[in-house]
């Protein structure tokens, strides 16, 4: 870990706070009397300078801060403007450029928290603005400079899962000159796609596609492939993960810088749906593909080719209220259309019973049209009255209602194919524990943000991609893979990554070794330091997210939050409740 001390050491100096109130055009100034707020700030203890400006984040505003710091020898800066989520990094950089440590800066939200939500109450809004500025100034006086730390990033990526997603990610990483360790729990690479006889939209055999990747992966000099292996333990933090890979009961530890979890999906065996399991001729779409891969499509009951085939879509998918089965599995509508179109050449009738049709992707609509052109019959059933299979004298009879023709239909299919849900594979629970990943109600791993950050997770340095993130097809999984690989390469190429200094810190003398903080921490960032006697808690700062849970849980008040110490917080409370303030409590 390297430390870089930035900013002058201001512990000995008296605080000289500069307050900068932004008008943000009409956004803040339209409701809040910013001049009054700045004027009030002048009267606060330790405030050496107070001003307003139109746009603090603009070049002119930034320059104003830097110039004022020099002119008035400011050593702490409060900017009252928009949300810190908007511009905290901006202003931190600005003060650093003027030689003030970034942690001696505080931002007050006068926009999202004041002017935008109290638009019709300007007087009260201005009072609230004054309160918030007063609180921030009180805190600013107690802020301390903190070192800006960065950690090295090991130029090796760990990829969990050897399907198309994992392989694509490994190749993208390896091609850019970084090492990749690909861990796969089965004997062979290839994942789900290798089990498919025909992949849409081109109709190639799944193996053909997988083999192209497998060949390159196995011969790549930067990629180490470990099959029949699983990741059983993870320690460390971003850039410096220690992963334990178990291969046939033998453990091996690797140091990696980034991790991509690409554990994929598996087809659900729909017991309890449509009499699955009660008759040999009722199979899943996945099972049909496996049959095709091995040879001809034949009825399991008598080995003869089926002349009448029925497919049912949305099996165990989109079931409101059934946990793990509420999602749309995305791939089935197109897969059914492809399968039906291909088998129609040798069948008399093929009927597709559907709830909805989502052939949304590139080339997918054409696949549906082709099936229809071949006279595959599409029949929509109502979700509140699903098709009913019956077994009469060993024969399969299917009853349903066609919504659009408003007719009751009956069919004796030779083969009934259920397009069942795509769900997280066995062992996903363990994976989530090892990598500290949370799961959404459908069971897939949660991204950091479903729209803005779909491939990163709350565990810094760990990415998810492909089916691990949500049910999706091969093309989309491969897109994810390249995205996650790009993020991994981004980290590894820089070679180091800055970590936030706003972390928790244990005061060893106060620690009673009760372990409460360890159970409380959601990030596995705190552990007992066995080198001490008795052992005391120690924070791994690179893993800490500064959430404060450990500090709140500690019964001995032995943990402090840097940049949010008890004193700093309580000063804010006092400033709010006991205005006006006198420096040193009035004694001077």
């Amino acid at each position: 870990m390297t430390e870089a001390e930035t900013g002058t050491d201001t512990a000995a100096e008296a605080p000289r706070i500069g307050v900068f109130v932004c008008m943000c055009g009409h956004n803040i100034a339209g409701t809040v009397d910013v001049e009054a707020v700045a004027k009030m700030a002048e009267t606060l203890p330790y405030v050496a300078f107070s001003t307003t400006t139109m746009f603090m984040c603009a070049d002119s505003g930034q320059q104003l801060i830097k110039d004022s710091i020099k002119e008035h020898s400011l050593n702490r800066v409060v900017v009252a403007s928009c949300s810190p989520r908007m511009h905290e990094p901006t202003f931190r950089r600005v003060v650093e450029e003027a030689d003030v440590n970034r942690y001696l800066f505080d931002q007050v939200n006068l926009r999202e928290h004041v002017s935008w939500c109290h638009m019709r109450q300007p007087e009260e809004a201005t009072e609230k603005a004054k309160d918030l500025v007063r609180m921030s100034v009180a805190r600013a006086a107690l802020l301390e400079s903190l070192p800006v730390k960065s950690v090295e990033v090991e130029p090796t990526a760990l990829i969990v899962g050897g399907g198309v997603t994992g392989m694509r990610a490994a190749l993208d990483i390896g091609d850019r000159g970084f090492n990749a360790i690909l861990v796969e729990r089965e004997k062979k690479l290839g994942g789900q796609i290798a089990k498919l006889a025909s992949v849409y939209p081109t109709g190639e055999q799944g193996n053909t596609l997988a083999d192209q990747l497998i060949k390159r992966v196995k011969t790549h000099d930067k990629i180490e492939v470990m099959t029949e292996s699983t990741v059983t333990d993870l320690d460390g933090y971003i850039g410096n993960f220690d992963v334990t890979v178990t291969t046939n009961d033998a453990d091996k530890t690797h140091r990696v810088g980034t991790i991509i979890v690409a554990t994929g999906i598996q087809p659900f065996k729909p017991h309890g749906y449509y009499s699955y399991g009660d008759h040999p001729d009722i199979i899943t779409l996945a099972e049909l593909e496996e049959m095709r891969l091995k040879g001809d499509v034949l009825r399991p009951s008598n080995g003869k080719p089926p002349k009448t085939i029925a497919y049912i879509g949305c099996v165990a998918s989109r079931e409101s209220g059934v946990k793990g089965h509420e999602h749309c599995s995305r791939v089935c509508c197109t897969a059914i259309a492809k399968s039906a179109g291909e088998l129609k050449d040798n069948a008399d009738e093929i009927i597709i019973l559907y709830e909805d049709l989502r052939t949304y992707g590139k080339g997918h609509e054409e696949i549906q049209r082709e099936a229809r052109t071949k006279h595959v019959i599409y029949s929509k059933f109502p979700p509140e009255k699903k098709p009913r299979p019956e077994i009469v004298d060993g024969e399969l009879v299917l009853h349903w209602h066609d919504v659009f023709s408003d007719d009751n239909l009956i069919l004796k299919p030779d083969l009934l194919v259920l397009a069942s849900a795509m769900v997280p594979p066995e062992g996903s629970e363990d994976v989530s524990k090892v990598f500290s990943l949370t799961r959404s109600p459908d069971g897939f791993f949660n991204p950091e943000h479903v729209k803005l950050a779909p491939l990163t997770t709350h565990t810094a340095g760990v990415m998810i991609a492909g089916g691990a993130q949500a049910a999706k097809g091969a093309a989309e999984s491969i897109t994810d893979a390249s995205g996650a690989a790009a993020k991994a390469v981004g980290l590894m190429a820089r070679g180091e990554v800055e970590i936030e200094a706003t972390v928790s810190r244990v005061i060893p003398e106060l620690c009673s070794s009760c372990h409460t903080c360890i159970s409380a921490c959601p990030y596995n960032a705190i552990a007992m330091d066995e080198s001490q006697d008795p052992p005391v808690a120690l924070v791994t700062e690179a893993k800490c997210h500064g959430c404060g849970t450990c500090a709140a849980a500690c019964p001995s008040s032995a943990i402090m939050m840097l940049h949010s110490t008890d004193d700093q917080i309580l000063a804010m409370v006092e400033a709010y409740l006991c205005a006006p303030m006198e420096p040193d409590g009035g004694a001077a």
Partner: protein, 175 residues
């Protein structure tokens, strides 16, 4: 083709879907687009007859063809309720013309002897007179035409239509 299952609710008729009727329609001129229909419903939404009729729904009728309800469709008067205004054809995103498909249905129905009375009698009039309104050409109208300076002898030819009747409609509308 169909199975009747008795339930305690009474007789519940269930139909076994078949693509044969759709293939038959596809082979009939005008019916080629039948397999393109994705049942989106825009035809029915645009149909003026649908908005004022409680029975006629082009989308439903097309689905009945797709699932093979041959007897029901050919013996029904529904295919004859299409006004041939062709707004459905204009609006259909897949290039289907329900109006043309129903014309194809009518042609097959005609061959099998299912024609609504009004169509039969009006067609007969056209074939015997050469035009449709021979009965309506009254003296008053003749006078009106005279006042307007128009020829009162309308000069419709019916020899040709007699020949057509012999060739295409002999022994009750058949091919």
């Amino acid at each position: 083709m169909g199975a009747r299952t008795e339930t305690n609710k009474g007789l519940e008729i269930e139909h076994t879907p078949s693509s044969n009727f759709a293939k038959e329609i596809e082979a009939e001129p005008g019916g080629e687009g039948i397999s393109k229909c994705i049942q989106c419903g825009i035809c029915t939404a645009s149909c003026a007859v649908s908005s004022f009729s409680d029975r006629y729904r082009p989308r439903q009728l097309i689905q009945k063809i797709i699932i093979g309800k041959r007897d029901e469709v050919l013996q029904s008067d529904l295919p004859w309720l299409c006004m041939t205004c062709r707004l459905c054809e204009e609006r259909c995103q897949e290039g289907v013309s329900p109006a043309e498909i129903f014309q194809a249905v009518r042609h097959i129905a005609t061959r099998e002897g299912h024609i609504p009375e009004v169509f039969k009698s009006t067609a007969e009039k056209a074939l015997s007179d050469g035009w449709l309104l021979g009965d309506a050409y009254s003296d008053f109208i003749e006078d009106d035409r005279d006042d307007l300076g128009l020829d009162t002898d309308l000069g419709w030819d019916n020899e040709f239509t007699h020949r057509l009747k012999k060739k295409y409609f002999s022994g009750g509308e058949g091919d």
